[in-house]
Subunit: 325 residues, 2 copies
């Protein structure tokens, strides 16, 4: 019996989930739900099954888990609690400061409905969070470092696009090699924001735009760029298309701990050709866990910290012990 997955929101992440669900032998795509006109949405898989978001509740009995692929700023804080009242849900909410609040709202709705709502899934928050938790639990005396990149930050790219005179932009977050080396060597350095990452910006400007003003506005932008060594390069639309169409990402969680005098370094790293396709794959695996945990009687809000790893796998417990332990 397949797990029937619904996808709400059909941007890059929704497409990543779609691809993952189709690749998973134990899952089937119940429907893609969008606020656009369904007739005008062409699915990447050609699977069809596009519906208007308003029709979601009517399909309650045909969906085992709803994966919500909206943005963290405005979509998820509303959508996840609302749909947790009717579905097992999974989201990738990543506004760290608001996780406790989001958790409470989802928990209340999911508990009342007898459903499971797993929030903040993906790789960070998600697999990176798990790495931090495992490392700290095993070696209480230590320090974790998270490096992101080399990869495209969509938030930073969007911030550049909002500057007057910018037609298109792509921003790569790049870890500073010397910082990585020191951390990997177990030296436990104190690192400022500037010492950990640099920011590389590729910009297509409108004709006649003042390039030096654009460059200055980028470099001085608070929060996004002013605390970093930032480079800005202006390129043509053709070059942007040829060299910067993909959304690669990745990074490392490095934990440097000790048992008395002896040092231990634990590292978890990702090198991803496509951030949304990988994140979508994590969400699909978590959807499997949501369904299994709910069938076993669990309810309420969860995070990946609450998921016994076996629930993420389509294999039986016996198979996992025999082949993967």
């Amino acid at each position: 019996m397949s797990i029937r997955i619904g996808i709400l929101g059909y941007g890059n992440l929704g497409k990543g989930v779609e691809k993952a669900v189709i690749a998973n032998a134990d899952q089937e795509l119940a429907g893609i739900f969008t606020r656009r006109n369904p007739a005008e949405v062409k699915t990447a898989s050609g699977a069809g099954k596009v519906f208007h978001a308003d029709d979601l509740l009517k399909m309650k009995d045909r969906i085992d888990v709803l994966v919500i692929c909206g943005g963290s700023a405005t979509d998820l804080p509303k959508q996840t609690p609302v749909y947790a009242a009717s579905f097992n849900v999974v989201d990738s909410f990543d506004t760290h400061a608001k996780i406790p609040e989001h958790y409470r709202a989802v928990d209340e709705a999911a508990c009342a409905a007898g459903k499971v709502g797993i929030i903040s899934c993906g790789w960070d928050p998600g697999l990176f969070s798990l790495s931090r938790l495992y490392a700290h639990s095993v070696l209480p005396d230590g320090k974790d470092y998270t490096f992101w990149g080399r990869g495209v930050s969509q938030g930073h790219s969007d911030a550049i696009r909002r500057i007057a005179g910018v037609k298109d932009a792509r921003q790569y977050t790049v870890p500073v090699p010397e910082a990585l080396e020191k951390v990997r060597a177990g030296l436990n350095p104190e690192l400022t924001t500037r010492q950990k990452h640099t920011r590389e910006c590729w910009v297509v400007a409108e004709e006649g735009a003042d390039l030096s003003r654009i460059e200055r506005e980028i470099k001085e932008m608070p929060d996004y760029f002013s605390d970093y060594d930032t480079t800005v390069s202006f390129i043509s639309e053709e070059e942007m298309k040829a060299k910067h169409s993909e959304l690669p990402h990745g990074g490392s969680v490095i934990y440097s701990g000790q048992t008395g005098e002896r040092k231990h370094v634990i590292e978890f790293s990702l090198k991803l050709d496509s951030n949304p396709e990988f994140t979508g794959s994590v969400l699909a695996a978590v959807a499997r866990a949501a369904w299994r945990m709910n069938r076993e009687g669990q309810r309420g809000a969860k995070t990946m910290f609450d998921i016994a790893p076996k629930y993420l796998s389509p294999q039986t417990d016996e198979w996992l012990r025999a082949h993967m332990l």
Copy 2:
């Protein structure tokens, strides 16, 4: 309220668990149990509390979790099921082929007693197994590679010591750099045993021993060395003591997977100054999970696949969500 930990077996691993328990603010050492004369055992921590293994059952009410630090060949298959009938237990059973059988024996005893028995914990099996499971669950289309080292294999060192004319020996398992590179690059190579690791042997021979015979016997030893490129170096006792007294280890699990055309590489790696101290730290964290899971009503045999990650941490769920997600 502290979790009271008993340790059965006081070799390198038992000492590692002792050190970890003392470092964990939420745990206390209830006792170290040995088959030797307790009066003659000096503990590394000077904590005292050494008892004869025969007295374990008498202390049933003063121990929350018993960490069993025996060998997988003969100790654990007997000890873990026996003690699971009276205690929550944790072991590091690592004979892969016999895990299903060991699991069943522990499950039967622990279920009957209403206890939890978590088997095969450490880093491999253990944290490495978790990495394999997470990666396969997220990306079903892929392949995992495990590399061990550079580090001391105690089993291989012991095998050399059994050769006539050998006074002492230390064997390092070393991953082949070219193989690691290819796997990290996502090339999915097919690798033979010989192509993945080399074996480096440091040997102190008895005076007058036939060195070329010893070298030949090592290199031709089936299972242990004959499938590997092995180097043998004869050194003095002084050099052995000066350069090879520690038990470093580590390695990497590298998973190379894809979503259609796009590739993703997931790597988990460890660089450990002390294999037994790190493994002991994992067992102490798992002991915390065993106690918490049992208090919540769980029973029977478990592996790290069954442990929701939050149970390994001494922090509350709220704290973890706020600080580590």
